[in-house]
């Protein structure tokens, strides 16, 4: 096998919030190595297309699905379980990383997850001021506004104003806490259980939980 090249990207990526990264991300190959690998993959693809086992369009679609379709339901299941199981909720608030692993949601690559609980007098909202750190194993991919400068800078300076733009108006008696995500800490908001949801089972409760409520920019409406 030919020699591998490694450019030093440590400086370019070392801004605290991005780390810890999967070190595979920093691998780079030279053009010759890439050409050899491309040829091996093209040979496989051509043969499978010949046999009618794959189509180029289907392969493109497959990449799109995995790049974009990673829904927020994992977090919703965590929230619904916390609402219905006080012992689980206690474990979740104590050590969220371990508590979400109990439900089979792994995928954290070195980050710790912290769950912060909304109450009638405390409202939590999550941001990443420096980049776009996000609790993706439970929330999927971040919405575009989460990654953009206006939200990242303004939610710290004027959280009530930003929340109002999301339709969330909070009384003066409610304390607003803003949590700045980092390399080590990813936050998930445990929303208040909606009024009128008393009789619902865990699955039905999970269906009520939205991504925005788990970021903390909205509250869950009462169940009609």
């Amino acid at each position: 096998m030919s020699e591998h090249h490694e450019h030093d990207h440590a400086g370019a990526h070392a801004h605290g919030h991005g780390a810890p990264r999967n070190p595979y991300l920093d691998k780079r190959r030279n053009g010759e190595e890439t050409a050899v690998l491309e040829a091996r993959v093209k040979a496989i693809e051509a043969m499978l297309v010949d046999k009618g086992l794959v189509s180029t369009a289907a392969l493109d679609r497959m990449v799109e699905i995995y790049e974009h379709d990673l829904g927020p339901m994992n977090g919703a299941r965590v929230v619904a379980k916390a609402w219905t199981d006080p012992a689980y909720k206690a474990r979740l608030l104590e050590d969220a990383t371990a508590a979400i692993r109990e439900l089979g949601f792994g995928g954290l690559q070195g980050e710790h997850l912290v769950v912060v609980e909304n109450t009638p007098t405390v409202h939590n909202v999550v941001v990443c001021t420096l980049c776009s750190c996000y609790p993706w194993p439970v929330l999927g991919l971040p919405p575009s506004w989460y990654k953009e400068a206006p939200y990242r800078s303004r939610v710290v300076i004027d959280p009530r104003g930003v929340l109002a733009e999301f339709g969330t108006t909070l009384g003066d008696e409610v304390e607003v806490r803003v949590w700045d995500s980092s390399a080590e800490m990813r936050y998930l908001v445990l929303p208040e259980r909606p009024a009128g949801s008393e009789g619902l089972a865990e699955d039905a409760l999970a269906a009520l939980v939205t991504r925005d409520a788990m970021i903390g920019v909205t509250r869950l409406p009462a169940v009609a």
């Binding site: 691998k27 499978l48 497959m62 379709d69 995928g107």
Partner: protein
Amino acid sequence: MSETAREDIANMDGPAALPRSSGELVFHDTWEQRVFAIAVSLCEQGHYPWDAFRERLIAEIDAAHEDPWHPDPGAPGYYEHWLAALEKVLAETGLAPPANTR
């Protein structure tokens, strides 16, 4: 073909975990996307269970003696292990003869 990501593929843990940056999959080159899509498509069509591919992948990573958190810059990268695993699975399932393009 399913229109949503399968959890057993998207959420692989340990050394086989997909490289991500804040949740978004990271591919350096187009061939990495192709090898990913081919391996997942054939599994979704039922040519092999995902565990069979995942075990192959982990075996390739182990054989490279690579600690994912302290990689050897000279060793093959993550999707090269996918490619090697795919070539072996294709040969084993009889879907394709071993690649001869190396």
